[in-house]
């Protein structure tokens, strides 16, 4: 790039980060804070001090995300409004079937089904947008992904309420079994993707990321219809802990980021066969995709490390040791080592391009085994969602 061409044309904003925030940013953060404070008083009988801490931590991270990524603000507002609306129409479990809105839209079952449908629709729309070079279809893909992610989040939030309706001693955050975490995986991956779509201003990856989300939706639907996995079951004592609230979501940010990295790897490998052709369709350059792949693996690695550490801290409290070489733990270590090797190759050897893309794709298989295979094939302390 010639630096002379753009000389003297642009302005710059020398205000600090906080000075650049608008009144809406502050109002939004304040409204979320009011909601959090209300929740922490209203639900105090069900919360211990750690859970209060987690609530305010969630508030702080949501605000940080929303200030850096503006579309997240509208998303949180929409999700909050819809969830509150659903909860207000939900005095008991029977309402799920008798109330029109709950039955068709906002009960956890309905919302999760909407999430499935919308994600399944978004993927072909994104691909059509890419192949037909249609900006409209691309934007439609983005809209569908936002709606799907919102539906998934609403589904879990309402399910949280439903679990308390079943019985106060059954109530818990809905991230405790394979069914619930698949929902979590789908919309977390969707949201992380949307963030990078916004940051890199390209919708060309939507279809590729949509593939992995659709695959998880496929599993979720099978699990729902063939196994009746949507039932809310009480928790065994080892899982009744506030650690659940941070350990599991942290893990799924990592899984989501790793999955996105792998799908960008796929896009990279496809693009490498005909760079000019794909560039005309709007697929980003190899350099940008490589960077995106790195960004996702770095994000995933940081969160995965944190999740594993949180898991170790929890294990030290629940199982009597921070590390037991339980199959899930061991496979987490294997996953961690795998991406550590990937990062070393990039940092110390300066590897880029095709081999790293292949490795990122292979990494997804390791992640999938850690996430799912361990539960299916190996038994151990983490056997909560058996098939």
């Amino acid at each position: 790039m010639s630096t002379q061409q753009i000389l003297g044309r642009e302005t710059f904003d020398d205000r600090g980060f906080f000075a650049r925030l608008s009144w809406f940013d502050w109002l939004w953060a304040a409204a979320l804070l009011v909601g959090s404070v209300y929740a922490s008083y209203h639900f105090a009988p069900w919360m211990d001090r750690y859970e209060h801490g987690i609530l305010y931590l969630t508030w702080a991270s949501t605000v940080a995300i929303g200030w850096m990524w503006k579309p997240a603000r509208a998303f949180t507002i929409a999700v909050a409004v819809v969830s509150l609306f659903a909860v207000m129409r939900y005095p008991d479990l029977a309402a799920a079937e008798s109330d029109f809105f709950l039955n068709y839209l906002f009960s956890s079952q309905a919302a999760i089904m909407w999430m499935c449908a919308l994600f399944l629709a978004a993927t072909p729309v994104y691909f059509a947008g890419l192949l037909l070079r249609s900006e409209f279809l691309n934007k439609l893909g983005t809209a569908l992904t936002w709606l799907a992610s919102g539906a998934g989040l609403v589904g879990l939030l309402v399910r949280w309420w439903e679990s308390y309706l079943m019985g106060p001693d059954i109530g818990r955050i809905p991230v405790t079994n394979l069914y619930e975490v698949f929902v979590l995986f789908a919309f977390t991956t969707g949201l992380i993707y949307l963030y990078y779509e916004y940051r890199y201003q390209t919708r060309a990856m939507g279809g590729f990321v949509g593939l992995i989300i659709s695959a998880s939706i496929g599993f979720l639907l099978w699990y729902h219809f063939a196994q009746g996995a949507y039932e809310i079951d009480p928790l065994i004592p080892a899982l009744q802990s506030w650690w659940m609230k941070i350990h599991v979501p942290t893990n799924f940010v990592a899984y989501g980021a790793f999955a996105i990295a792998a799908m960008i790897g796929v896009a990279y490998l496809i693009q490498a066969r005909n760079p000019e052709g794909w560039a005309r369709r709007g697929l980003p350059s190899a350099e940008v995709m490589d960077d995106l792949m790195y960004k996702n693996i770095a994000l995933g690695f940081a969160f995965f490390t944190l999740a594993t550490i949180l898991g170790a801290l929890w294990a030290a409290e629940a199982w009597g040791g921070y590390w037991s070489w339980d199959p899930k733990e061991t496979w987490s270590l294997i996953t961690w080592l795998n991406y550590a090797a990937w990062l070393h190759l990039r940092f110390t050897k300066g590897w880029r391009g095709t081999p790293m893309a292949w490795w990122a794709v292979a990494g997804l298989f390791v992640v999938t085994f850690t996430f799912l295979g361990v539960n299916i094939f190996l038994s151990g302390l983490h056997s909560y969602g058996e098939l």
């Binding site: 630096t3 003297g8 004592p237 940008v288 960077d291 690695f301 009597g320 294997i334 090797a341 070393h344």
Partner: protein, 652 residues
């Protein structure tokens, strides 16, 4: 590929082994699974406890050493990178940078330098000025903590591995390998265990289990090692005052907790604390966890009903105790293996997983023959309602791998076993059977005394066969007999004998009813149902294969708590390493080390300004950042002689 990557991949692959091969199982199981040859090979490779295997630990140690070497070699380089400004850059080399921008402005070099300095500082750069006669150079850098990220992450790996190796109990493994520590394989009281199988307190890290009944106490834990266990002595004594468990409606445990009293000679007062899952008691480097629960030797009051005839006998026993019984069919040793206060089962026609019911207490026991073989039984205390009737259930199986097959003994109207046992008695006693068959023949209308005598004898045989071998055996026997006698119509003979045995059984039952004061001439519906169920239970007795039926009459529940006690001196080291790792990764990924230089040279009447920069990682991110840096400097320099883009001039 360099060493680090090879090691990371090697540790990953080695770790897979332990997830595929079940770890720390009894050696006998491995022997059965793999056969003698492979069992031996795997044992040599220490695959049954891979993560304590010498070669695995060696690999980890090698990882620690190589990371340490890497760290000591690179830290000085990183430190230089962090602290040095590289203020010897020549104009020529700056022009070779891919990110650069140039201005020619009317202001003085001092003003330009001030503008450059202000721009760089506002963007988070540290700056250093260096003046030479021909030019001055502003060197700047930011994000130097990125280099700390390298140091932190690598140091973290070393720290975590060292902590882990401390807690990996190397000393115990070492003693085991050298033979100083002998593994105990027998199930014997602690007092009889040899000192060579005991580990003194406060020496090493450990993680072991102990089961303590309510009001019981313990001052050791058991550590699984090799093909057996060793005993770890504790520096304190734990007493369990009470154990409580709560359940969900579905019968699964919701929470369980133990009231512990910890007596430590170093303490003036014992510590009293209630522990639960997720809420351990931590004392002096030892953590005591609620891990499991079981029976602590509940007292069971039993009534043994002999199935061969005879009166019931009351017995007292405890879970995990044994008692001998003598029956007509030989002695059996009763080993009481378990007791449950309640059993939650799904409703018979449940459509929902939550439709369940409590069928009351049950206990399990083994009946062992003198030859050593044993059958396992599971008896319920209370009759269970099924299909409109109420039955005492007793399951039997040959091994734990099988499902229980149940005997359904109908409960009498009082909900007891008396009527069934009375009927059994009636049919076991020759007199009883004779009287019953007599009345049966009256009913059928056989009058010839000789025929009556013969048929009565056969009826007795049939009842015996029925109780010993089941109804099919009776019919097979009769068929054989009928065919042996030839005769014109064996079917008619068979029908006759079936009539005889049916009537005999009924008459036996009629006698039982009469003894209860019920007129058998007009039996109630429930008495008929009872009869049908009783006869089918009797025909199943053949498979039940027990000389007695043990009825649970009363109990005193005594629970036991399963504690896991761990001492992990390396834990805080590992936590510190984890913190380092987290901070290090954030620095490594989200802070990028950027350098920029601004060369300012007087030229003609004005000043030439050259801005250049680079960043080792994150080239895309830097390209953007450099553009905005250039834009800002452009602004401060007055936009290349053109009017400033922002004329408001109000700036913070």
């Amino acid at each position: 590929m360099n060493l680090a990557i090879t090691l990371l991949v090697a540790v990953a692959i080695a770790s897979v082994i332990g997830t595929v091969l079940h770890q720390n199982e009894p050696y006998q199981d491995y022997l059965i699974k793999f056969g003698p040859f492979w069992f031996e090979v795997y044992e040599r490779l220490a695959l049954y406890d891979v993560y304590s295997a010498p070669w695995f630990l060696f690999m980890l140690a090698f990882l620690v050493v190589s990371t340490s070497v890497c760290l000591t070699r690179h830290t000085p380089v990183m430190w230089k990178e962090m602290t040095r400004f590289r203020d010897h850059q020549q104009e020529r080399s700056l022009r070779a940078f891919s990110h650069k921008r140039e201005w020619f402005v009317a202001m003085s070099p001092d003003e330009a330098a001030a503008a450059a300095d202000a721009t760089l500082r506002r963007n988070g750069y540290r700056t250093r000025h260096k003046s030479k006669p021909e030019a001055r150079l502003v060197s700047a850098m930011r994000g130097t903590s990125n280099r700390l990220g390298y140091i932190f992450t690598h140091l973290a790996i070393v720290v975590i591995c060292v902590g882990g190796l401390i807690d990996g109990n190397l000393l115990m493994q070492w003693k085991y390998w050298t033979g100083d520590l002998v593994v105990e394989t027998r199930n014997i009281p602690v007092s009889q265990i040899d000192d060579s199988s005991k580990l003194p307190p406060r020496q090493t890290a450990f993680r072991g289990n102990v089961t303590i009944p309510e009001q019981g106490r313990a001052s050791v834990v058991f550590l699984q090692l090799g093909e057996g266990y060793v005993v770890q002595e504790l520096p304190f004594r734990i007493e369990v005052e009470d154990f409580r468990i709560e359940h969900y409606d579905t019968g699964e445990p919701r929470s369980y907790e133990s009231d512990l009293v910890l007596h430590d000679p170093e303490l003036d007062e014992p510590i009293r604390q209630t522990i639960r899952v997720n809420e351990p008691l931590i004392h002096n480097g030892h953590a005591i966890y609620q891990a499991s629960f079981g029976d602590g030797g509940s007292r069971l009051g039993l009534r043994a009903w002999p199935l061969d005839g005879g009166d019931p006998e009351g017995l007292e026993t405890r879970v995990n105790e044994e008692l001998e019984i003598d029956g007509a069919r030989g002695a059996r040793r009763v080993e009481i293996t378990g007791f449950e206060v309640f059993n939650i089962h799904p409703e018979p026609e449940a459509t929902d997983r939550r439709q369940v019911r409590n069928v009351g207490p049950s206990f399990t026991f083994l009946l062992r023959r003198p030859t050593g073989e044993a059958l396992e039984y599971e008896n319920y205390m209370l009759p269970v309602e099924m299909d409109g009737g109420r039955y005492f259930l007793s399951g039997v199986r040959r091994s734990a791998a099988e499902e229980f097959r149940y005997l359904y003994i109908p409960a009498d109207p009082d909900g007891g076993l008396d009527r069934f046992m009375a009927l059994l008695q009636q049919l076991r006693q020759p007199d009883g059977v004779a009287a019953a068959s007599d009345r049966a023949l009256d009913g059928i209308g056989v009058e010839d005394p000789q025929v009556r005598g013969r048929i009565a004898a056969e009826a007795h045989d049939m009842v015996d066969t029925l109780l010993e071998s089941g109804f099919d055996a009776v019919m097979a026997e009769q068929q054989a007999r009928a065919e042996e006698r030839g005769g014109q119509a064996p079917e008619r003979l068979m029908d006759f004998y079936r009539l005889v045995i049916e009537r005999t059984l009924w008459e036996g039952y009629a006698q039982v009813l009469r003894d209860e004061g019920i007129d058998p001439g007009e039996p109630a519906e429930e008495d008929l149902v009872f009869y049908r169920d009783a006869i089918s239970a009797m025909t199943a007795l053949a498979d039940y294969d027990a000389p007695v039926f043990l009825e649970l009459t009363d109990y005193d529940h005594r629970q036991a708590t399963g504690l896991q006690i761990a001492r992990a001196p390396g834990q805080n080291i590992v936590y510190f390493g984890s913190l380092l790792l987290t901070i290090g990764l954030l620095l490594l990924f989200y802070v990028s080390h950027r350098r920029a230089w601004c060369l300012i040279r007087p030229e003609g009447g004005g000043t030439r300004v050259l801005l250049a920069g680079n960043s080792q990682r994150d080239p895309l991110g830097f390209a953007k950042a450099f553009d905005s840096l250039g834009a800002e400097l452009d602004h401060r320099l007055g936009g290349d002689g053109q009017p400033p883009a922002d004329t408001n001039g109000e700036r913070s």
